[in-house]
Symmetry: C2
Subunit: 125 residues, 2 copies
Amino acid sequence: MKFKPSDSELEILQILWKQGASSVRSVNEELNKNREVGYTTTLKIMQIMAEKNLVTRNTDSRTHIYTAAVNEAEARQNLLEKFVDTTFRGSAMSLVMQALGNHKASAEELAEIKDLIRKMENDAD
Amino acid sequence: MKFKPSDSELEILQILWKQGASSVRSVNEELNKNREVGYTTTLKIMQIMAEKNLVTRNTDSRTHIYTAAVNEAEARQNLLEKFVDTTFRGSAMSLVMQALGNHKASAEELAEIKDLIRKMENDAD
DNA sequence: TAGTAAATACGAACGCTTTCGTAATTTATG
DNA sequence: CATAAATTACGAAAGCGTTCGTATTTACTA
């Protein structure tokens, strides 16, 4: 899978994943909560994303409705693997340690992780 | 800190971090273990990196020696934060869980993580 | 010293992303 | 029906990264 969305594209995918099928206007409004983006800029990028098959669009009504064409979990996994390779030289454990170390986790979160570890240890048997 | 190296730049930084101060030729040879890159291409990118202060260079001898000007641990931390924001919507814990879940960890690695968690739980007191 | 090899410097080209102005089209409103 | 408003379509420009050909400089060698 060669999945390498640009910054803007990933930003838009996040919005589509979060709020589901959306119009350009809706996505643009969401984007503008963080930074100023012109409407036609958002439109253009989403049109390009459609060409690349990152999204699909329903053009039945005048206002086109866009839907993410890639699965969120898969995309995350894919990006995570690449990130581990490029930034942590392939060591997922280094990444986990660093992410854990520099984040104040709540007791609940820590419990969750311990649970996962316990499961992994059992699977190893 | 506005640290946003390009793919090539990060690749070169990794090499400099790993093998320390290096000549362009040395870096280029290392790059060519993965993919074909022209010598002048590598040279050009490293020159640009020097302009951006991503690296420093010693020009005393004819063969210039380049050194990473950014700290590896800090750079990783910085990139990690951005990655969590853009790909995991800010949730470091989601990232940890996903990275852990999709990686077969050895008993030693799991022990290491448990150690870290134990320390974090104590710090919380 | 002349010639060759190695290294740096320079500049141009190409592709991709982002941005935006403007035109064309469609829908709603008075 | 005529006008306004909203939307899509189109194209161009600017910026950045990457690549590479070529010129220039430097050092070594026969």
